[in-house]
Symmetry: C2
Subunit: 171 residues, 2 copies
Amino acid sequence: MSISMSSASLPIFITMLRNLNHFLDKAQQFVDTKKCDPTALTQFRLAPDMLPLARQVIIACDAAKNAVARITGNPAPKFEDTETTIPELKERIQKTLDYLATVPASALDGTEEKEVTFPVGRDSTRTMKAESYLKHWALPNLFFHVTTTYAILRHNGVELGKADFLGGGVA
Amino acid sequence: MSISMSSASLPIFITMLRNLNHFLDKAQQFVDTKKCDPTALTQFRLAPDMLPLARQVIIACDAAKNAVARITGNPAPKFEDTETTIPELKERIQKTLDYLATVPASALDGTEEKEVTFPVGRDSTRTMKAESYLKHWALPNLFFHVTTTYAILRHNGVELGKADFLGGGVA
């Protein structure tokens, strides 16, 4: 059976967001053990002009949420982007997973050729066919922000490894 | 038209390896401008127990090469993993792109249910169906190592942005 739009999106989004949630569990353990200020992690940036960890998590969630909403043509729930703590970020991931669970495969399947228009930067939009948008925009964005979160945590000494990245510690 | 195994793999692998090559062009410009030791970048690690940039690039290449070889069942060309300089790493990427160009879509298409066995760690193997292997192993690995390369370069001040990540500077 060939790959459908739903099977090329939902399982990958869900797996990577669960793994991201698992990274944050390990980050919380790190904070508890070291008794350090948790914002030292959530506000950490790998470069002054990169986004801090909290924004990386929020954007990873939105990469999945917005992809599904744009491809299906149904508006996604709007979140306020106010999360700053590890528990708040975990809640954001859960809300995103809850939303993804409401989307039936049938709303995504068959949309390969559908045109998707989305904002790029502050004042422009881009239009791509849904299949290209998924493969060359949504998935790379999701992986970018999940990996950058992982990199920030690893750089700060949080105990994570490739098994955590690929399978939330159970790969 | 639904998504095929070839269209879910080759275009993504090729795009991301070209973007990775573009990161290295910007890294070379950085080294030339700063007149710094290029190994300061190629040997840089985000954490003492993470791999340095040179290995991130090599493994990104191998994520694509090995995925295609394992799914098609045809052995891939073996490379010696001796690359340490930016020009050598760019050559590794080009050799990988050259290999991918030899693989016909027909060798990948229809393999969704085929079992793929691959090494995990030093002394074990894992078996997954090709479709799952692509979505949950090969693609995450490719994106992980491309993003980590990007993160190392950004952390060191190389001028890169999201457009470079998504589209090699032409997104």
